[in-house]
Every structure is written in C-alpha cells, then in structure tokens.
C-alpha cells in the first residue's frame, strides 16, 4: 500500500463523519430552504388575508419541488456584455459560502454538523460573510446599472451591519467566554439563564443587524424590487438565480442558528434548570402529535384522493416523530443521550423557526428603509450602541467578579445605562436627520433654475 493511499485511508477514517455531513448539507439544505420559502409564502398569505400556494399538493406542500423543477428547466440567460467568468462564479460563491458556514453549526448536543472547532462562532461569521462576494461580483458582472447599484448598496450595507452584528456577538461572547458552539450553550446552562436576558440590547442589535446582513425587508435594499428591479439579481435567471435564492435562505438559517446558540440558549429547553418545570419535556411529542391530528382532520377535506393520501402520509410521519420524541420519556428508553439529542434538536429547530418567523413577520409589516436611513441607523445608532453595550457588559462582569455585586443588579444597572445611551443616540439622530432634510432643500434651491426641464 502506497503511503498516499494509506494517508487517504487514515484521513477517511478520522474524517468520514465530516465528509458525510458535507454531503448531507448539500443534499438537504436546498430542500429545507425550499420549504422555508413555502412557509414564508404561507405566513405571508396568512398575514395578507389570502391562502398562498394551494395547487401543488395538499395545501401547496409540494410547491417547493415544483418551483425547483421550474427553475432547473428555465432558459439560462447570460447577458451579452456580461463578464462571463464572474457571472458564472458569483452565484456559486454565494451559495458555497452559505452552505460551508453551516458546517460549524450544532443543531443539538449530538447533532453537530461538522466538528466542534474551537473558533466555531467566528468560523460561521467569517465564512458566511464571504457570501458578500457572490452578490458584489454578480452585480458587477451583470453590467447593468440596476445590478451594480444593488451591488454597491449591498457592499456598504454588509460592511456596516457586519460590524454591528459582530459587536453584538462580542457582548454575548464575553458572557460565554468561549467561541466553541458547545461551550457557549454549556455556559448558558451553567448560568441557568439564556444570554438574551443577560444582554438584551446585544440581542436587539443582533436581530436588526442580522436582518440587514441577509438582505431581508425592511433592509432589502440591495434587491429592493420596487426600486432596483431585483438589484444584483436583475440579470440572473433560472438555476443561477435559484443559487442566489438558496444562498439567501441558507444564510437565514445560519443567522437564526447563531442567534439561537448565543442568545436563545441553543438546544436548551426553556427553564432547563428549573426542576418542577420538567413536564415541559412532554411538549415536543405533544406538538408533533397535534400537527399529525390536524393533518388527519384536514385529510378528509382534500379535493383529490391523492392529496388525501398525501395528508395521511404527513400525519403518519408526524405520529412517528411524536413517538420518537416521546420515547426518551417512557419506560425502557430513558437514556440521557437520547433525551438530550432528540429534544435538543427539537428545541433548537423550534427556536430557529421562531426567529425566522420573526423575520417574516417584520418583512410583511414594515416598509423598506431608504439607503441613507439604513446607513444612519447602522453607523449612528447600532454601532455606537454596540460599543457602549460591550462596555456595559464588561463592566457588569467586572463588578460581579471583582466587587462581588449581584450579577442581576450589575447587569440591570449597565443595561439601563446603555438604554439611556440609546435614547441619547436616537435624539442625536433626529437632529442629524433634520439637518439633512434642510440640506436637501438647499440642494433643490440650487437647481431651481431648471426645474421645468423634461
């Protein structure tokens, strides 16, 4: 056996789990992203007094597959004056970055996607920020004004809001004291409280910044469909476009996972350390069971026999899942690892889902920011606030460890101070805005000579 083969075998032996999870990510995330899209459309429809997709499969459950097929067989257009190489490369970069960054996420104590590396959180942030290149290069390569404006907007926006998000994460990391994903969740278990309650302002900053980071409304300026048509994606169609789309939704899952891990207690059950609330462990099984029962009730009302059968299948799947989730609670299967693994994954995904639901809710409620307002919000409010908040959390920790203050007292005091700073910043921003609008008036006066042109 040659040394090369030996090395390869050795490599495979020790890394097969990671390789396999890589394959799993590539295989499953597109499907999941597709269903996130379906959920989004359903949520949107619910908020807008309509039904959403209803035609493909019962309640439109097969819609994502139909959409994917449609995108695959669509004509693939590359504009004549586009930079072919970069045009081809850009969506791939975007999606690769999003999928790679998923590697370090842990969906539960036993569902670490790849290895629990000791810079886990930084890895996720670093790799997912590479996705920006996909947007920028794609916008540039399309050789269209709308695209390039989208690209420039996106660049400015991501640079600003990644800073804000980073600052928010730092205050969480101060509390956790480690970058390891597992370590962060374990720290929250030890504290006995999620970091959202210890650093609420950091969480708020992260929510805002993460929406901006993945270009979703109300910060979807790079693709602002009513202004820039589709921004950097204007010239893309078919499968390339769907790669961008996939990247966006994968990124959504990534930022939601990061927020869940750092602020929402990861895979911990709510009140994980409160003994008398242990009955909450029953919830996962109950919830899935309820979904199954709902499917059964709806099954009879489906218009087509195939759909009824599909509903039955969904219901059965739900019941099976419920049984699996209930297993660790009863009889011979009361194994701790099963409990932690399955229920951890359930809670984690539930929190991620709730976070994504929040994104959707905001998207369908709020109008879009204007570019200068967006930049103002980032640079004049979120970033200073993030810095102040780091000081606040740091001071609270010092007060606790060096001066023996009560942790809660220290945090409440510093949080209140930070809040005060936030209102002060808001006040400053109002003043700045007033100045800016008068500047516009001045600019209008300056061109008043030719107002009747055109």
């Amino acid at each position: 056996m040659s040394p090369a083969t030996q090395a390869l075998l050795e490599f495979l032996r020790s890394w097969w789990v990671e390789l396999l999870s890589g394959v799993v990510i590539v295989a499953i995330v597109p499907l999941v992203a597709g269903y996130v899209v379906l959920v989004e459309r359903k949520v949107m429809a619910d908020m807008q007094a309509r039904l959403g997709p209803m035609r493909v499969g019962p309640h439109g459950l097969l819609q994502p597959i139909a959409d994917a097929l449609k995108l695959l067989i669509k004509e693939d257009i590359i504009p004549d004056n586009a930079d072919k190489l970069i045009f081809w490369l850009a969506p791939v970069i975007s999606m690769t970055a999003a999928l790679t960054s998923m590697g370090a996420i842990a969906f539960g104590p036993s569902f670490q996607v790849a290895r629990d590396i000791n810079v886990g959180l930084l890895f996720i942030i670093g790799i997912s920020s590479l996705g920006l290149f996909g947007i920028v290069l794609g916008g540039w390569a399309s050789n269209s004004h709308y695209s390039i404006m989208g690209a420039i907007r996106s660049m400015a926006q991501l640079v600003s809001y990644e800073t804000a998000a980073g600052l928010a994460l730092i205050s969480g990391l101060l509390l956790a004291g480690t970058l390891r994903i597992h370590g962060i969740v374990e720290a929250q278990e030890q504290y006995g409280v999620w970091f959202i309650f210890l650093a609420p302002i950091a969480f708020f900053i992260y929510v805002v910044a993460s929406i901006a980071e993945i270009n979703r409304a109300p910060f979807d300026l790079p693709e602002a469909d009513s202004e820039l048509v589709a921004g950097y994606m204007t010239e893309y169609s078919g499968f390339r476009w769907s790669l961008y789309f996939l990247g966006e939704y994968a990124n959504m899952i990534v930022v939601a996972s990061v927020a869940t891990t750092l602020f929402l207690g990861g895979w911990l059950r709510p009140f994980a350390s409160v003994r008398w609330l242990s009955w909450l462990d029953v919830l996962p099984a109950l919830v899935t069971q309820a979904v199954g029962v709902y499917c059964l009730i709806r099954a009879g009302k489906q218009p087509v026999a195939v759909q009824t059968k599909f509903m039955w299948a969904v219901a059965l799947a739900c019941f099976a899942l419920a049984a699996i989730l209930a297993a660790p609670l009863v009889g011979p299967f009361r194994w701790r690892f099963l409990m932690r693994g399955l229920h951890g994954a359930f809670w984690f995904l539930l929190k991620v889902g709730a976070y994504i639901y929040l994104f959707m809710w905001l998207r369908f409620t709020l109008p879009r920011y204007r570019f200068d307002q967006l930049m103002g919000l980032g640079w004049y409010i979120l970033i200073p606030l993030g810095i102040i908040n780091i000081f606040g959390v740091g001071i609270a920790m010092i007060l606790e460890s060096e001066y023996g203050w009560n942790r809660w007292l220290a945090l409440v005091v510093t949080t209140l101070v930070t809040l005060g700073a936030a209102f002060f910043l808001l006040h400053l921003n109002e003043k700045r805005k007033a100045a800016a609008s008068s500047a516009i008036a001045v600019a209008k006066e300056a061109v008043a000579g030719d107002i009747y042109a055109g």
Partner: protein
C-alpha cells in the same frame, strides 16, 4: 503526508492565483484572484492548525479589506486603466527584489533542512485536546507584544482619523 498534500495544494493555488492577479488586465479579475490567493493562504493557516488566524485572515483580509478593494474598483473608470501600460518602468527593480526574496527563502529552507509542510505532524486531535489558540494569541499579544500591538493600534487610529479628515472636505451636498 496528507499535510504535505494539503500544503502544496494551497501553496500552489496561492502562487498561481497571485501570478494571475498580476497579469490580468481587468482589475476586477485581478481582485478575484487576489481573493483566491488570500483564501489559499488562509487554508495554509488551517493546515498549520492555526484556526484563529485562519478565521482572522478570512474576516479581515478577505471580507474586510477586499470588499473595500472591490468598492474602489467599481467606482473608478476601468476603461482608462485598461489603456495604460500595465508593467511600468519598475521591471528591473522588481526583478532584483524577486531574486533577493527567492534567495532568502532558499537559504531559510536549506538551513532548516525541512520542506514546507513538514512542520506539523499529521494528527486528528479533537478540538479539546489542542491548545485553544485564540487564548494563546491573545496572551502573547497582550503580554509579550503589547508595545508593538499598541503602536500598531495608534498608527491605525491616526490613519483612520486622517482618512476621515480628508474625506470630510468633499462631503458637501451638490
């Protein structure tokens, strides 16, 4: 063995894309190859088990500095740059520098009697067993190298203030 393979792969990619970066006429293509170079360098850091440096390289150089590069490239007129002579009169200077550098690297390799990539033995140590290098780095930065670190910070601050001052002049509205 595997370490060597990985090292030579990344090193090759880095050198190749560096060469391409220099020779491309299109500034945007050059930038893409520079990004590739930086990523390959980051890969070498990872191969050396310097995870923190790997991530820092990606966050700072690739997604920080390169984004600003792209920003500038997008805002300048590429057609003008295309018409200019690409390799200016520094041909000879460049040659001398290159040769000097090559000799240095050669001496280094010769004196160490080691090929690059041999530095670390292959082992699949789990993360917990490795010394977490975030802390190591922080410790050395804030103890042994505190003064250089602070000097660098001050320099950067000065540069930043200078940039703000220079930019401020031209931000009057049209």
């Amino acid at each position: 063995m595997l370490d060597k393979v990985i090292f030579f792969f990344f090193a090759g990619v880095a050198i190749l894309s560096a060469a391409l970066m220099v020779t491309r006429r299109n500034a945007m293509h050059s930038a893409v190859f520079l990004i590739t170079t930086l990523l390959a360098t980051a890969g070498i850091f990872l191969q050396l088990r310097a995870e923190f440096l790997f991530v820092a390289q990606i966050i700072l150089y690739v997604s920080g500095i390169m984004v600003l590069f792209l920003f500038v490239i997008m805002l300048v007129r590429l057609d003008v740059a295309l018409n200019q002579i690409q390799f200016a009169r520094q041909k000879w200077v460049a040659l001398i520098v290159t040769v000097t550098l090559a000799i240095q690297v050669g001496i280094l390799l010769w004196s160490a009697r080691k090929l690059p990539g041999d530095g670390v033995l292959f082992s699949a140590a789990p993360a917990e067993m490795l010394q977490p290098n975030t802390e190591t780095l922080a410790n050395s930065l804030f103890s042994a190298y505190l003064l250089p670190f602070e000097i660098a910070s001050v320099l950067l601050l000065v540069a930043m203030v200078g940039a703000v001052v220079m930019a401020k002049k031209r931000t009057t509205l049209p």
